[in-house]
């Protein structure tokens, strides 16, 4: 019987393969173009955002203490004396060649300020992925296997409640619970002496990682659960069950590989979301990452730093969204046939 099904699908495939592959390629190219277009649009928006400042950027940086000479100096440094298109070009080419300019606050290279923070944030995201993704997926599978029963209802209600909470509320609740008011287990602030790595004192990573994990748990959990339930209800699983396949084999060999395909896409989307969510969580714990750096430079009105960090976060977001879409189409080729035609 399984063989029959296999033959039918092969036949269907071979007749539609060429067309499907063509459409797949067309979709991929279109999606990559859209991604590139979005990145360009983000560049333009980030650049123009600094142009809407009342007066000009130099005035905004210096505030009331501006002397004409100092204003002129900053204008030259920001290339404000050039035409708009030239300014944009100078900025973009500077970033592409690895020279995003100097900080307006202390004159150091912007990259010296930003890159260590990128590494710190990357550590945070990596650890969050390692902790949160397996737990969310396993709980999702468990809930799906016990769908409708107490276990499932319980985890689902928790997930639904957590889903609503803003990141900083999760962070503060965890501080109240684990650091200050109920238990006194973990440091409430992630203080890192300048020049040293976050990894030298791993205990400070626990709270931010825990917060981010709680924040991205519900989404991944719900996707996994929905996906596994759908696969378990499909005909080929019914077939395998009737054939007498043992339950563990049914779950691990037949159901999960197919159910986890959409989950891979959601992982990419979750990471994309975290690129933005990390800003607030870093602020809660004073963690020395890009998010905290962005907020610091916003307070100091350090425009080159703001521009670079926003652009970096945006690029990560766009690229991960792009990856998610491509993965989704590669894993489920039939989609390219109708889904993207109709939208």
């Amino acid at each position: 019987m399984e063989v029959c099904v296999a033959i039918v699908t092969t036949q269907e495939k071979s007749s539609g393969t060429a067309k499907a592959q063509h459409q797949l390629l067309r979709f991929a190219v279109r999606r990559v173009c859209l991604g590139a277009l979005t990145l360009f649009a983000v560049c333009v928006v980030v650049f123009l955002a600094t142009q809407v400042l009342p007066g000009d950027a130099a005035q905004a940086v210096l505030g009331r203490s501006a002397t004409p000479a100092r204003l002129q100096e900053i204008r030259t440094q920001l290339h404000l004396d050039q035409p708009l298109m030239m300014q944009f070009w100078t900025w973009v080419s500077g970033i592409l060649t690895g020279d995003p300019g100097r900080s307006l606050v202390n004159g150091t290279q912007v990259s010296d300020f930003v890159y260590p923070r990128v590494i710190n944030s990357a550590v945070l995201l990596l650890l969050t992925s390692v902790v949160s993704f397996p737990v969310s997926i396993i709980l999702g599978v468990v809930a799906a296997l016990y769908a409708g029963r107490f276990m499932d209802t319980g985890i689902s209600i928790v997930a639904l409640s957590l889903a609503a909470l803003p990141e900083f509320v999760v962070g503060i609740l965890l501080i109240l619970l684990l650091s200050t008011s109920v238990f006194h287990l973990l440091p409430a602030v992630s203080l890192v002496p300048p020049g040293s790595s976050v990894l030298q004192n791993p205990i400070i990573l626990v709270m931010p990682v825990l917060t981010l994990s709680v924040v991205c748990f519900p989404y991944l959990f719900r996707m996994t659960r929905a996906s596994v339930i759908e696969v378990l209800g499909s005909e080929y699983i019914e077939m395998a069950r009737l054939k007498g396949v043992s339950t563990p084999r049914l779950i691990f060999v037949h159901a999960l590989p197919n159910a986890l395909a959409p989950v891979v896409q959601v992982i990419a989307l979750t990471l994309a979301y975290l690129a933005g969510g990390v800003v607030l969580v870093e602020f809660v714990f004073g963690y020395p990452g890009v998010g905290q750096g962005l907020l610091d430079s916003i307070v100091a009105r350090d425009i080159p730093v703001i521009q670079l960090i926003v652009l970096l976060l945006a690029a990560v977001y766009v690229l991960l969204n792009l990856t998610a879409d491509l993965i989704a189409v590669l894993l489920t080729p039939k989609m390219s046939a109708h889904q993207w035609q109709s939208t």
Binding site: T38, L165, P166, V215, A314
Partner: protein, 318 residues
Amino acid sequence: MAIDLNGRSAPSLIGTCWRWFRDLKAGAAGLVIGLLIIGGAIFGPFLAPVPPTDFVGSPFDLPSPYALLGTDFMGRDVFSRVLSGGVQVLGLSAVATVAGVLIGTLLGIICGYLKGKTDDVIMRLLDVAMAFPQTVLALLFVSIVGPKLWLIALLVAAIHAPQVARVMRSVALRVSEEDYIRYAEAIGVSTTRIITREILPNLAAPLMVELGLRFSYSIALIAGLGFLGLMADPSVPDWGMMINENRIGLLLNPWAVAAPVFILAVLTIGTNVFTDSLARTKRAMPAAAADDIISDEMPANGQVAGFGNGHGAGRGKV
């Protein structure tokens, strides 16, 4: 009360409402909690024992009969500030949500009903908008233009609109295939009239769900901006801002932080639970629409998902 032939009472309006409410189960609890907090926030400023800007003691006093939740970092009454701190967040969230959902619905209907070139152009633009990391850009704009209330409302509305448009478009697409729309077109009813009289009423249920969903995202976003200190006027009490400014005294008077945090937590959970059960109640809306909204929360179909922007699974905070 009307009695039908079998002797059972025909469904009265109240009965129908009650059954609908009962079906929402957990949702009903969420609704009650949400309404209580919203009501508290609206009437709170009138109930506050002392004006929220008055100094009643030294900084971070513990709760006492004079200050039920203690005092904040400047020695102001936390209880009064919590009562007054919701108006700004909830008012702004409401404005931003309504504006965003209205614009999104309008765009969605136009795309779903007119189809063709208009649909293509608008949807491609919305795709680009959704591929933006909107929250980070919102932060950028607020920081550069300055914390203006209109700007915050505008940005949050702009974050919602594309997502809402996508959901509404797919519902409108389905509705526009119905026979009665074809019939209306055949007898020459004007496009505007078809949109307002035939299509719009069919969107009422998904519209409700979108409003609820977007409202809880708005609260999260705007409270987040307050927490980051990006709200307009630092002297206006604001839940998000209170959490941040009283953090330094967490060990002295935890209530100054805990009270606004608990309120925000309970409020967002309440609205989310209510909206979720509303979306799942088939009775409240055509089945197709319910599926759409739930799948919007879970963009499984390789849609360009701006992560739902809010995270009733998709979340999109600052």
